[in-house]
């Protein structure tokens, strides 16, 4: 527990500084109201709006830990959302819709995993295939329109309230906790890290790298399906063109802000979801601060750049040397102070 805390400390600090910064521009940022059985306020919005990216980041963390990358998650959101909306529109009910969406996510993950682990295509290329073609699949399901539905049960997953909080908040937190426990209480975390750092050495030690890789991409597909369900339930419609558009990049960014290396190996799910919250705080903060929309991307890019530079290991060592050389320069000074005595 303490180890996890030390690991995510930089992300927690970043989040705290960022929230303070947003509060400067929008003083009511931290205000939370309770009325009509629900909490509301900008922070609650951050927790809710960050759900899709946080979920994608959970799956992406595992994929990146194996030295892979999954560019298809945004598209998988569109596919699974379309599948769910289609199931409801066809009158199959919310439960079936959820199951169908999750199954679609698993199938997408299986496809990616097989391309990577069995066929041996580089992950960035393998997942690019689904990323570009998948929206076409989603459009086939929705027949090119925004497939709307009116099913209070399914919509509850996107905009419902449970114990005062939006339901998506529970979904992403539970998913992240479940995955973290699964990784650390079983040996999966160790094996995933091992194949990410050195696949051939792991295979020689008897690790079943192929099956693990497929499983990891399927997990990513499953997380994307959850994100797709939330996004679709939220607007009560499946928008094949826009659902999850570019979110794969936000998810990768969240993992990176979480201090996980794109070269694979050691990973922290907690740090990644904090990374997702950092990104969402930036997004929501920009909206609340009321800058003209032309500045949105510039401000976001600037903040992300600052965060990544502050986290870079090179800077840490430069800082170490800078401090040392400063203290060393100060060292020869005791002579005058002695004169003073």
């Amino acid at each position: 527990m303490r180890r996890t805390f030390t690991r995510v400390l930089p992300q927690l600090l970043t989040l705290a500084v960022l929230m303070a910064l947003v509060t400067l521009f929008f003083p009511q940022f931290l205000a939370v109201d309770y009325q009509g059985g629900r909490l509301s306020g900008p922070v609650i919005d951050v927790l809710k709006r960050g759900a899709p990216v946080a979920l994608l980041a959970v799956g992406m963390t595992l994929v990146i830990a194996t030295r892979g990358i999954d560019l298809s998650v945004g598209t998988v959101m569109a596919i699974t959302g379309a599948a769910a909306a289609w199931a409801i529109a066809s009158g199959w009910g919310a439960g079936t819709a959820v199951l169908l969406a999750l199954a679609a996510g698993l199938v997408c993950g299986l496809w990616n995993g097989c391309l990577v682990a069995v066929v041996g295509i580089q992950p960035i290329v393998a997942t690019l295939i689904l990323m570009t073609s998948g929206r076409g699949i989603a459009q086939l399901i929705t027949e090119g329109r925004i497939l709307t539905f009116n099913d209070p049960g399914f919509a509850w997953l996107g905009s419902g309230i449970l114990a005062g909080l939006p339901v998506p908040v529970f979904i992403w937190i539970l998913t992240a906790v479940a995955v973290a426990i699964l990784m650390r209480r079983t040996a999966l975390g160790l094996l995933v890290e091992a194949i990410g750092i050195n696949r051939s050495a792991s295979a020689l030690a008897g690790v079943n790298a192929r099956v693990l890789l497929i499983a990891v991409y399927m997990a990513s597909g499953l997380c994307a399906a959850l994100a797709g369900i939330i996004a679709t339930a939220d607007i009560r419609g499946a928008d094949a063109n826009n659902a999850g558009l570019w979110l794969e990049l936000d998810a990768i960014l969240a993992v990176v802000i979480g201090g996980n290396s794109l070269l694979g190996g050691r990973f922290s799910v907690a740090a990644s979801v904090l990374g997702a919250m950092i990104i969402q705080t930036i997004d929501t903060g920009i909206l609340l601060a009321g800058f003209p929309s032309e500045y949105n991307l510039v401000i976001k890019a600037g903040l992300v750049l600052i965060i990544l530079v502050l986290q870079s290991p090179n800077l840490a060592s430069e800082w170490y040397f800078l401090r040392r050389s400063l203290t060393q320069r100060r060292e020869p000074k005791p002579v005058p102070s002695r004169v003073k005595e």
């Binding site: 079983t186 040996a187 160790l190 890290e193 091992a194 050195n198 792991s202 020689l204 030690a205 008897g206």
Partner: protein, 508 residues
């Protein structure tokens, strides 16, 4: 004096890697830099070449203080380096690698013909007849090493630093390299030579400097020193050379031992010709041969790294599946591969995690080895194999080569295999760890484990093996048993053309 280093110190968090070290290199000498792993040789070299910043001290080149900040700055000053791990680009061609950064240009464009000509010229003195237009990575480690040396030799003007340059070279290549180095010395270069092969040091070098625990112990002329004195300097104690060199005492004639595994006609076209192998409980089988003779490939077939296309294995219970590493592990095999860095250790994982990895993989992910058990295993093997690490949670990549090798051994010992394959278990390892690994081999067999050991050091093979199989041209050509097991016999078997082809089956 070409290069003088005065009172150089360097600390890392937690350790003092170099403590006020002096070092002097004359123009026109080959100067050996010796010491056990962790003595500070690599750190000293990295300070000279700008890879590390020194904390204090001076470096004078031709009497002028220099402070190279990067390796390329050092190169411009005239200090060229070849590291133990080849730092070339395997997916570029040989010619591109050799001319990298100074490509011959024609009308502003890189001329690949001129590039190839230039590369061939640079390689002319090395006796390598290779196609410089092919990717570097398609050549063996030995050839890559020679190319790295050729590049550094042509780049550096004054000082050439060689870190374990001969670790992957066979005898002929070593001789060739030494001829080149002597030639360069005679032309006035100062050469720093780091090696674990003491014979080579005595053969090539003019002077030597010994480091131990970050301190300079001695600088002496080769002519005025001897092996025992040198080893004493390095270890800080007397090494009982006798125990190391002594021929392994077999407790029983190998024919009488209990037969454990039998491989029949195992082979793969283009890799190794089909061979038979019988493995008996508690015996050590040595595999000898030149680089490229099929030693490693044989090991890989037996462990299923490459699937054998013919042949099968049996034990008392019946057929044994060894078609892939996981199957081989289930059958009780283990394999410590030649290239520790790429196939052995998981560098970023801790010593503990590396040790439990194979065990964990066999148990499956749903049955994690409890943390207490992991700690116990790690502490146990750290103590038993004398793995030098601050604690079990240190990343394996931060350990020295010998200790990394011990971690890989510990991983397999934790599995308690019946048949363990060790490919070059002592390569690039200092004398102390070397002796310990040989001691471990004795210990393992005493408990009934059978070993297959591959090594290019014939003395070492002779010291540990009950019998030796000699490979030549990708076939198991000869077997040496009992009193035949001598370094001399191995050399003769390698040199003799097809004299004992028929013996292969009989001996196995």
């Amino acid at each position: 004096m070409l290069l003088s280093i005065r009172s150089l110190s360097k600390s890392f968090p937690g350790t003092k890697a170099l403590d006020a070290v002096d070092f002097e290199l004359k123009a026109g000498e080959v100067h050996a830099l010796l010491g056990e792993n962790g003595a500070g040789k690599s750190t000293l070299i990295k300070c000279m070449t700008g890879a590390y910043r020194r904390d204090s001290g001076q470096i004078l080149l031709d009497g002028q203080p220099v402070s190279p900040g990067t390796t390329s700055e050092a190169q411009e000053l005239g200090i060229g380096t070849v590291y133990q791990e080849i730092n070339l680009l395997p997916n570029l061609t040989v010619a591109q690698n050799l001319t990298f950064g100074r490509e011959p240009r024609r009308f502003g464009m890189i001329s690949s013909r001129a590039q190839r000509d230039m590369a061939r010229e640079m390689l002319a003195g090395y006796g390598l007849d290779i196609d410089v237009g092919r990717d570097l990575g398609s050549y063996s480690v030995a050839v890559q090493q020679v190319i790295a040396i050729a590049r550094a030799v042509s780049l550096s003007g004054k000082v050439l630093i060689l870190d374990e340059p001969t670790a992957s070279l066979d005898a002929a290549e070593v001789r060739m390299l030494f001829d080149i180095l002597r030639d360069l010395r005679d032309r006035g270069l100062g050469i720093v030579f780091v090696s674990h092969f003491l014979d080579q040091v005595f053969d090539l070098c003019d002077r030597l400097t010994v480091l131990r625990n970050g301190c300079k112990i001695a600088t002496e002329a080769i002519a005025e020193t001897d092996r025992l004195k040198l080893i004493k300097h390095m270890l800080g104690r007397e090494l009982d050379e006798a125990t190391e060199e002594e021929r392994r005492k077999t407790t029983a004639p190998h024919e009488e031992r209990h037969e454990m595994l039998r491989f029949d006609r195992v082979g793969r076209p283009g890799t190794v010709a089909p061979f038979d192998l019988t493995v008996r409980r508690g015996e050590v089988i040595g595999l000898a041969g030149l680089l490229g003779s099929g030693r490693t490939e044989s090991a890989e077939l037996l462990f299923g790294v490459r699937a054998a296309q013919s042949g099968q294995a049996h034990d008392e219970a019946g057929p044994v599946d060894f078609s892939n590493p996981r199957a081989a592990i289930r059958a009780g095999f283990g394999f410590a591969p030649e290239d520790r860095k790429t196939d052995g250790i998981i560098a970023d994982l801790s010593v503990r995690e590396n040790i439990v990895l194979a065990l964990q993989a066999r148990r499956g992910w749903t049955h994690p080895v409890p943390r207490a058990e992991q700690n116990r295993l790690a502490d146990d093997y750290i103590a038993r194999l004398d793995i030098r690490t601050s604690d079990a949670e240190k990343a394996v990549g931060d350990l020295s080569g010998g200790n990394q090798q011990k971690v890989v051994l510990a991983r397999w010992l934790a599995m308690n295999p019946r048949f363990l394959i060790l490919d070059e278990p002592t390569r690039g390892i200092d004398i102390g760890a070397h002796a310990e690994i040989l001691r471990l081999i004795h210990q393992m067999t005493a408990e009934g484990m059978a070993l297959l050991v591959i090594s290019s050091e014939f003395d070492e093979l002779v010291a540990v093996s009950d019998r030796i199989i000699v490979l030549r041209d990708r076939r198991h050509a000869h077997a040496l048993v009992g009193d035949e097991v001598t370094a001399d016999a191995i050399v003769r078997a390698i040199a003799t053309p097809d004299a004992a082809q028929t013996q292969t089956r009989g001996a196995a």
